[in-house]
Symmetry: C2
Subunit: 216 residues, 2 copies
């Protein structure tokens, strides 16, 4: 197959990709509310005003749709949380931005049902299979991103050298999950602000004199 033929094929598939993307955007939103298992193809097709079979053809199975939805949600996190955070200078500013935006994506309802990955985590935490594995992978990757940001702050001398990056990353994520829980289930309107303050205090307590001002 020549390069031009590949390009031709890619161009020809342009429309399919576009609708596939719109399907996945809706799927992520729906799944964040109804759960990845509760997500149904008929319901999704109805919401998009298209046929069940037409939608189905894009994925071939429900499981593939679920996996694609997870990937889409992940890309949304990269786009709205990680990428803008990475734009900040390395060290504490970047780390704090990562934390703040991770909390923000729930407040701003990036996903209709709150945090897609937290919901998926607890939906699949006692199952087996590729869907569970993919969710676990995403969460490990996210923890890794957080951990590397901590490591970066340590390398910059913004936080004490004694800090364990993995440990602190996990602590931060725990505070966030707790906040999501209080905010979404218990309707605690101040939960997110309290979590932001908790993380901020924790980071400040670890900061060195060399650390620049990082929270506006």
């Amino acid at each position: 197959m020549t390069a031009s033929a590949q390009v031709g094929a890619r161009v020809r598939r342009a429309r399919g990709i576009r609708t596939r993307e719109s399907i996945l955007r809706a799927a992520v939103d729906l799944a964040s509310v109804e759960g990845l298992e509760g997500l149904s193809i008929g319901r999704l097709a109805q919401e998009l005003g298209m046929s069940k079979s037409g939608l189905f053809a894009h994925f071939g199975s429900k499981e593939e749709l679920q996996l694609a939805a997870i990937d889409t949600a992940n890309e949304m996190i990269i786009e709205h949380v990680i990428r803008p955070a990475i734009a900040n200078p390395r060290g504490m500013p970047r780390l704090w931005s990562l934390c703040s935006r991770w909390l923000e994506h729930v407040e701003k309802k990036l996903f209709r049902g709150g945090c897609f990955f937290t919901a998926a985590s607890f939906e699949y935490d006692s199952r087996t299979g590729v869907v569970r594995d993919r969710i676990a992978l995403m969460m490990r990757t996210w923890l890794g991103t957080l951990s590397r940001a901590v490591e970066g702050a340590r390398a910059c001398g913004h936080i004490k050298a004694s800090v364990d990056p993995d440990q602190l990353a996990f602590e931060i994520e725990t505070v966030a999950i707790g906040a999501f829980w209080a905010f979404l289930l218990l309707d605690d309107q101040e939960a997110m602000a309290k979590a932001r303050a908790t993380i901020l205090n924790r980071l400040k307590s670890l900061a060195t004199p060399k650390c620049p001002r990082f929270a506006r």
Copy 2:
């Protein structure tokens, strides 16, 4: 209706109540894995070797089954976590036992799928209706129990008077949820032990000289 007729009716209903209880025990286990919405009557009947309609007659609707399952899970928590904890002397020992047993119920798999209420929390946190309301009520009640134990410890002079019971209760619950997440989804075998240590350290940091030794 006379009193004896009521007693008679109650006795007559003995068998029904027994099977109802066995249904609910299985329902709680199944729901802790598949979710309260994924819990299906046919599947449950099959697991118990009884007919769908026979099982259904005990509840009248799926929603009633879900609510009854929530109540049953709650009673299991009271039985296996709260009651034995309350048996400890008021103050720090009782508070610590509450924390430790709350973590323990997941390690010991009181529910097949880990923590019934944490799973249900994140399944229903962006829905409306009586099921969600019941789950939220249970979690608020649990937080209240935890908070009252903190208050008791403060009244005993076991922890500093400056401690905010609601705040500390929430912190403890957050650590627990984070541990469940790491233990169940990420297969972190040390997550529960780490959470136990985290809470223990936190409590010790708040303890007064008057506080008795409380962790074996």
